[in-house]
Symmetry: C2
Subunit: 166 residues, 2 copies
Amino acid sequence: MQEDDPFGIRPGEVAVPLPPAFDAQVYFIGRIRTPWQRREDCPKNARESDAKCTIEIDARWTAALTGIGTCSHLLVLYWMDRARRDLVLQAPRHYGEPRGTFALRSPVRPNPIAASVVRLVGVDGTQLSVIGLDCLDGTPLIDLKPYFASTDAVPDAVVGWHAERP
Amino acid sequence: MQEDDPFGIRPGEVAVPLPPAFDAQVYFIGRIRTPWQRREDCPKNARESDAKCTIEIDARWTAALTGIGTCSHLLVLYWMDRARRDLVLQAPRHYGEPRGTFALRSPVRPNPIAASVVRLVGVDGTQLSVIGLDCLDGTPLIDLKPYFASTDAVPDAVVGWHAERP
């Protein structure tokens, strides 16, 4: 049974050939420490969990944290390194009907970069304590940004297909 | 005069040696078309501009747009391919005092990935019309995600150093 294989293809899903070459490269700048060792243990939605997670920045980048403690919230970009990259239509088990990859927050996408908003609860040297992540322990970090409500918060935004799902 | 060189180093700025190797690779999945050909023409803040921009997705990924038209807002990730990557402290001209890279939204960062929230105003095949971008014409696109107010909107978030700047 492949149904529980998160990286198998389900009925209705479509894969495409990947481009022949990559275009740019990223550095992992740290790791995310969470309580979740297996995919099935991760919260389905970050809002379901109050778990405190730790973002560990590599020592090389220590000075880049200057001033970050004044931010109440951060935008965290991380690399979902266990995901396939070639699906354009996906049928997550809890949604049924296939949806386009760019209409989903699935880890399966051409560039497996997740973006999560977290609440910053503490800074200790190169370690940040945050609330709001739902990823596996050891997930590679690729960026941290200050969250600006003026440009990043759109409280009335709507995802129509999600609002109307049965 | 290097003062106007956006990628030169200003007084108070600090660069570090980059890691010896990259850790992962990205595909450019399309391009962003904007009215701005030169960096100095770009709006300083996306909220300053009502300009309609166009996101052009490569044909390979067309099916991945399925359902995206039901989203009022998207999170757009793009690659700021003209930025240096080795600064940990930066002194943007309009802020004065140096700040850590991870406390800034500057394009200069270890992984030059920008995250912008846009309003989706139209979908025509592989072209999306959006409002809310401030990047150069031709900027490479790396991801599109539906914006979920439930997890992405934090209207009361604060960036202390920014709120308190003179």
